[in-house]
Amino acid sequence: MISIILVPLGFYYVNWSKSGEGAGLYSRDWKPDEVFAYWNPDDFYQPVKSVVGVFKGEECINCHKGVTPGIVKDWQASRHSKADKKVFCSDCHGDNHENLHMPTPKVCASCHTVQHQQFVDEKRYGFPSHALAMERALDAKHFVDKPKAEVTACLQCHSVATKCDSCHSRHKFSAAEARRPEACITCHSGPPHPDDETYFNSAHGQLYLKEGDQWDWSKPLKKGNYPAPTCAYCHMDEGKHQVADKSIWKFGLKQINPLSSGNEIKRNKWIKLCSDCHDKNWSAQQLKAMDAERKKTWNKLYQAEAILKDLRSNNNLFPSTELRPPYPGDTKHSLIQRERIGFFEGQASAFYNVSPIERDYFNMWYFGNLGAYKGSAHGDNSFVKKWHASMDENLKDIKIKAEQLQRSEKIKTNTKIIKDIWHKGEYTEFNQENN
């Protein structure tokens, strides 16, 4: 009886929470920035009403030659303009100018069926994946909590789920362009995912940098077609759009069991792929070396996590949750305030308004760990060494700071001043009122 009432109520609640001005699970808690229309068109795009009329493809081209010559030139250079039956602007954007739309993957799917099916199928490999990138970004606590103009950059990259031109840049939409490693690096760069640096530093990447411009990029991503592997050659072998299909360690933010039966299947897929060029045993050995590197990293991370959890148990974190603003989303979604430490407590969203030692751990976990991970995965030993040395340094600092915190006396009289330091101030107050 209870379940008959609770289950529909649950569905109703989720639907209700998704029907706000924003999007995703917390859509009632935030309003979109106008620019989101371009990153997440399905939820936010509204057509321009200033131009009225229904136009044929040639008419679009004639007018836009003058208005935005760049996109017309791009289209003219594309296969869309050269096909027997040309694919015009109106085929993807619609022909009624008052009711135009941004082409989402579904629009591309009307011709590129196989690629779209593969792209959507990637969801079954879970997150991180291109196909789930947008919905997971919208549901991230810090995305919901922060001012929307600040977190626009999140959607720029996470729009890989909502528009095909993240990789096949508009309006040329070239397969050859997307095969090259540069197509990935606008998003796959920077401290938590230095895929660009680690690949370009590796022997594979060095060969690419030296000779890549001379390779024939119109060829499919298959054995024998390329002298060195690229991002797409390995992660999208034979052009498959399930980019996450062999992902064992995923984002790298939590420890996984690399020897689970599911991961054994993925491991064998890697070995098969590497043996396009390498000996099988050698490839298996490389993967084992990566397991060892990951184990070493998690040993360091767990030590830091344990130190932080000890500080929390003894109420030694300073400032503690009573003195600082709530964790993102906590005011509305959680009754008990406490410091979040590690992946499973949601520390991934807690990189601001936390005590310095918690942020130190965040830096070690996000930048040190992930730098070493990507160095290890892409064959850049210099990166592995650099970030392990950095994690050792982080761990040492965390230990020293923890000892200081343990020795420090509890705050007595200046509580209000310290509360003000953490709760007041131009950005902090703006953030509390704007998200």
Partner: protein, 279 residues
Amino acid sequence: MKIKLFRGYFFIFILSVLSPQLHADKNSIPSGNIDNNTCIVCHKKHNPQLIKDWGSSIHASTQPVTDCISCHGKNHNNSAAMARPDKTCIECHGGDKSPVVHSYTSSKHGIIMRLEKNTYDWQQPLAQANYRAPGCSYCHMHDSNHNINSLSRDSLMDKKAADNNETSIRSVCQDCHAPRYITRLLVNGENMLEIARKKVREGAGLIEQASALFSESELKPARQVMEKMQHHLKNVYLGVGHQSPDYQWWHGHPALDGDLLNIKGIISELYRNKDTKAP
């Protein structure tokens, strides 16, 4: 700034006075190696606006001066095409790894440029979307505007500075992008930058307040973090200007968040110690 402008004009003036012997007309393009004086005198006659624009730009007042031959080389032959590609600019602007360059080269514009630069006809003017991806010069010297500052700003902390270059920015972006798209990106970018400024001002304000109670040596660590904030603010600016999500975000906002909480942490500790020392 005024002194710098004056220096630029003064430089042109001196060159004109010292080089009366040069009276090249339109049809006599000099052959062989030429020096900078020759360029200025002749081009002042044939396209005075170009020389004026260059004179008002920061290039005219750098030490040493970034003159014509710095970018165009000493030979008139092919001199425009040799100046247009990104490598001309990157050499002086800190190399591939400097934030100003890397924020562009890792942007979508930058990566398309990296892949396609060898297929472009660099004789084409820097306008009308003659290049599929815009390089440094396409935007910052659009339509041959030699005032390199037209898209940039002097102060990152001053919001008003944005109004001065909005028209110039629009005239570049509209070669490829729709007017509403440009507007929304400009508004969003300015808001994103303003939020970064709020973080910087909050940090600076806290240090300022604390300076009434604590000594400079006690506040030194906080001031060191403040210096990092300036770099991270610049990263947000570069991320917005060059449309690099990575600079807007990882090199920008979360880095500023870390700086701000470290400043707060340092100052809170000072108050806590003061508290425990109190009688």
